[in-house]
Structures are given as C-alpha cells and as structure tokens.
C-alpha cells in the first residue's frame, strides 16, 4: 500500500494551535518557579497601627476563602470528601466551591498535571484576581508523584504556577488537606496588605 492512499486526517487548525501552545509552554518551563516568600521577615519594620489594620484584613481574608475546584484525578475525590458533611469545610467559611476563576481566590490543584493540560491551568491561574493562593494537593501535583518518569507528566505544578502550600499524600486524607488549609490561614495572616 502506498503513501498517497493513507487516511491520516488533515490537521485541524484548532488542534495544531493547541499543540504549538503546549510545545512552547513545555520549552519555557524547564525550571521550577520559586515559592512566594513575601510573608517572611516583614515584621520588624512595621509599626503598631499598620499592623492592626493588616491583621484584621488578613484575618478576614483567610477566614472566607473561596476555593476553585480544580480536581484533575483521584485526589479530587478526597477534596470533595472534605467538602461533604463528615469533614465539613463549611466551618472554615469555604463552603461554596466556585467553578469560575473570576470568583475564586484559592486554587487547589488536586491530581496529576500533564503537559496537555498545562496551558489550561496557566490560563485559569491568570484569570484569578489578586490576592490569590495555590495549594498543591497530592504527590502528583507536588512532584509528578508515581508518574514522574512518564513522557507526558509535568514534574510538579510549580513549573507552571507558584505554589503556597504543599500537602503530601497519595491521596492525602481530608484531615490532611484541612491541616494544609489551616497552615495557609497562618501564612495569609502574616502578609502585608500593601502586597495586593
């Protein structure tokens, strides 16, 4: 059978554009993005009045985070389990999981990230308004997990977006994720409002 009679479909321009985006993102993400560290070491230079205002605003921000549901794989079901009545994150003010990034300020990336999905993650992260935080849930999001050696898996989401809290586990128990969220609350309270 000859080459001319091959029935490979002609390349759809949407697919080709997507492929170019993925390849260029893969080439640009050779090194991990450093973790944000603006919450360290500001305490010496602040005076009392600014500290109180900072503290109240940050406390209010941290107790009413709206999480963005970004469940990719198995960890998503432990995240949903955290939202159900047994482990209940309503008591932390995070009852409603928003589906639109414009309305959310915390992105919990739960599951394996592949290079094909990476441009979508970056787009969603950029659509969120400041101040925003990211939790990497599960081994696959932290470092690629059991699939690190594969040809199509991103070795940790901090190649694409900066991460604030890492929650280890495969999958982490819902209590573990709640512990990660309380750590994030402690981190948010230490930030200065002049950052956002």
């Amino acid at each position: 059978m000859e080459i001319d009679k091959y029935s490979i479909a002609p390349a759809n321009e949407l697919d080709v554009a997507e492929g170019l985006r993925i390849n260029s993102l893969m080439a640009a993400s050779a090194h991990p993005i450093p973790d944000p560290d603006s919450w360290i070491g500001e305490e010496l230079s602040r005076n009392v009045l600014v500290t109180t205002v900072d503290y109240v605003v940050d406390w209010a921000r941290s107790r009413s985070l709206f999480p963005l549901m970004f469940g990719l794989a198995c960890c998503a079901f432990e995240m949903i389990g955290m939202a159900t009545s047994r482990f209940d994150i309503s008591r932390f003010g995070m009852d409603i999981f928003r589906w639109s990034p414009r309305q959310a300020d915390l992105m919990i990336v739960a599951g394996t990230l592949t290079w094909k999905m990476a441009p979508a993650v970056k787009l969603v992260y950029e659509q969120m308004a400041e101040p925003k935080w990211v939790i990497a849930m599960g081994q696959c999001a932290i470092s690629g997990g059991p699939f690190r050696e594969s040809y199509s898996v991103v070795p940790g989401i901090n190649r694409i977006i900066p991460v604030d809290v890492y929650v280890p586990g495969c999958p982490p128990r819902p209590e573990g994720l709640i512990h990660g969220i309380t750590k994030l609350h402690q981190k948010i309270v230490k930030e200065s409002i002049s950052k956002a």
Binding site: M1, I3, K5, Y6, S7, I8, A9, A11, N12, D15, V16, E18, G19, L20, I22, N23, W115, K116, Y151, S152
Partner: protein
Amino acid sequence: MTTALNGEQVARRINKVSPGAVVASDKAAVVVTSESLFKVAEFLKNTPALDFDYLTDLTAVDYTDYFEVVYHLISLKHNHSLVLKTRCHDRDKPVVPSMTGIWRSADFQERETYDLMGIVFDGHPNLKRLLLWEGFDGHPLRRDYL
C-alpha cells in the same frame, strides 16, 4: 462459560472461504495477512454459526521485527470468543485496513493505536492523535522510543 474457539479449526473454515489468508494458527489465535483482513472479518461477523458481533479489544504489540495487531472477538449469541491477529513488517510506514466499517467500536481504539504505536489504519474516518497532542514527536509505545 465463554468457550475460546480453537484457532486451527477456525483457520480451516477461513481457508475454505478465502484461501491463502491464514499465515499461522495455533490453539489460541489465528494470524491472517493484512490484505485479506477485511474479508476475513466480514466472514467472521456474518456467518451464522460464528456470528462475532462484539469487538472487545483492539491493540498492537511491537515485536522489534514486526508489529502485530491483535483483535479480541466475542459472540454474544453463542458465547464464544476468538483471537484474530495480523502482522505488518514495515517499520517506517505500517498499514493495516481499518475495522470501523464492520465494528464501530474500533473507532477510538484504532486512533489510540495510531497515536501510541504509529500504525496507520487505512479507511478510518478520522485518524488523528487521541491521547497526545498534535505536534508531539514520535510514538511513545514503540520499543525504541527513549
């Protein structure tokens, strides 16, 4: 219990209908040439005693000299099964006729085999990459990838 049909007996029946189609056969499987694959598949589906109307699995194995495409067939009516295989020896441009005209379940599985192994299925309505993105270099499941 699903009985696995004896490959040699089925090979004899196939040889009566299209002589020269069978390359090898043993107790488990029947290997046919890729040119006669479409005719053999039609025969297996339409003969009342065989009546293979359910294509369970379509996959390919890379033995380094040749590719072997494996089809697992089941008949729901008679509750028996058969393994059908075909080989292609061309490493650069392996071509096998597509089964989507006979069993529609071959649609996504052939696209996936093209994507991961590089085997082209002649006659498929929409053969493009399924799991990897357009612009990915190479076919990962081949033995000589990476």
